[in-house]
């Protein structure tokens, strides 16, 4: 089975900035995204998702490499300093390349 290579961008961050972040991602070329609730612990303490103030989200975007790079640069420049946020990239294969 042939699968076209794409990048999966995974962002785990504060729920407080969800709307602003998604607007940015769409502007940077994301054709779609998936958001799920997340909890965990890191340098910013335990994010237990017990109430709004401590809830985290995980955003996943599958896109081409250039878009992934643009997202990485933008998020690093605008969000990393002040928000609890991590972002990582994985290589994935997709069956309908025109969607991404």
């Amino acid at each position: 089975m042939h699968a076209d290579p794409r990048k999966l961008v995974t962002i785990i961050t504060e729920a407080a900035i969800e709307r602003r972040l998604l607007e940015d991602l769409k502007r940077l070329g994301a054709h779609g995204y998936t958001v799920s609730d997340a909890r965990g612990e890191g340098t910013r303490g335990i994010r237990s998702a017990g109430w709004e103030g401590s809830s985290n989200i995980r955003i996943e975007v599958v896109c081409d490499e250039a878009t992934a790079e643009a997202m990485g640069r933008h998020l690093k420049a605008h969000y990393y300093a002040h928000y609890a946020m991590i972002m990582y990239f994985s290589d994935v294969g997709v069956l309908r390349p025109e969607k991404f």
């Binding site: 303490g45 017990g50 109430w51 103030g53 002040h82």
Partner: protein, 314 residues
């Protein structure tokens, strides 16, 4: 002093959290409980609102909004000078303390109801009004009046935040429908109010306990501020309540509102508008100190304050 069961639920949550129990309510449950509380408070206020004339309400509304602007302006220099906090942190905490906590208000209402003390039932209107001014002042204190604040986005955040939409929506539905029409939904919103509040406070106890760790790190000043400022603000709220002609119950509620610190609307707005402010500081103070203080000690105290003020004021 007999403790209200809802306060005992809070203590249970607090104790369970401090002892690292595995007790944990799913986020969706917390959301659901807070939606019911906000709508119930709004609906009750709305029913009463229909019977009020704008002539009596308007001066009270203006006075309360002014208080919402004043409190953070007083808190800010204290935080800057005594607390030696950074500008953004001081501004953010000031905004938290100028705004209000719906959870604290709900406990105060339940406290009054269990003692059959009446109050102006349109108080939720004043609650809604008090949520907003402090956010604007907080941003201005942090930034100055500058062009690079995205006011449109911020306005969206402030006016369409969850608590404002539900409170205002409840007020409007209550106002439009009237008491009889609300009876079919009253079972959920009114009859279950105390039970819902008890569960909500159980969760809030857990949340408050989770702030204790950062309180240890951020020290004695936040603890002192988180108790002293509400006491000061309660006097401001109480005197204002007396001046604008509220009953003893209403005066007590306004004192409680002034004394309470936001932990929903303001943190969300500050995260967007003043991202460099450390949210741990403001939440530790508002949730780890002021919320428990108001629930356990403050509310009965503010009632005594209201009685005292009304006694001396004739």
């Amino acid at each position: 002093m007999s403790l209200d069961p809802i306060v005992l639920f809070f203590i249970l949550g607090l104790a369970a959290g401090l002892m690292r129990s595995e007790l944990r309510l799913p986020g969706a449950i917390y959301e659901f409980l807070s939606v019911i509380l906000l709508l119930a408070i709004g609906l009750k206020g709305g029913v009463e609102l229909a019977q009020q004339s704008l002539g009596t309400l308007l001066p009270q509304m203006v006075a309360v909004v002014l208080m919402g602007f004043l409190l953070p302006v007083v808190a800010y220099p204290v935080l800057r000078m005594l607390g030696r906090l950074k500008r953004a942190d001081a501004a953010s905490i000031a905004a938290h303390y100028g705004s209000v906590s719906v959870g604290t208000y709900a406990v105060a209402v339940a406290w009054l109801a269990s003692r059959e003390i009446s109050f102006e039932a349109y108080m939720p209107l004043l609650l809604v009004l008090l949520e907003m001014p402090a956010i604007l002042i907080g941003i201005m204190l942090a930034r100055g009046v500058s062009a690079d604040t995205n006011w449109k986005q911020l306005g969206h955040e402030v006016f369409l935040g969850k608590s404002i939409v539900l409170l205002l929506g409840g007020l409007l539905i209550g106002w439009a429908a009237g008491p009889e029409a609300l009876e079919p939904v009253g079972g959920l919103f009114f009859d279950l109010f105390h039970g819902v509040l008890a569960l909500f406070l159980l969760e809030m106890g857990l949340v408050a306990a989770s702030q204790v760790g950062s309180l240890r790190r951020h020290g004695i000043f936040l603890l002192a501020f988180g108790i002293a400022f509400p006491l000061f603000a309660a006097v401001v709220g109480g005197v204002l309540g007396l001046q604008i002609g509220l009953s003893i119950g209403g005066t007590m509620l306004l004192a409680t509102l002034a004394a309470s610190a936001s932990y929903i609307a303001v943190p969300a707005a500050m995260r967007l508008a003043v991202p460099e402010a450390n949210p741990t500081l403001s939440l530790t103070a508002s949730l780890g100190v002021t919320f428990p203080f108001n629930i356990l000690v403050g509310i009965p105290l503010y009632q005594k304050l209201a009685v005292l003020l009304h006694g001396s004021g004739g």
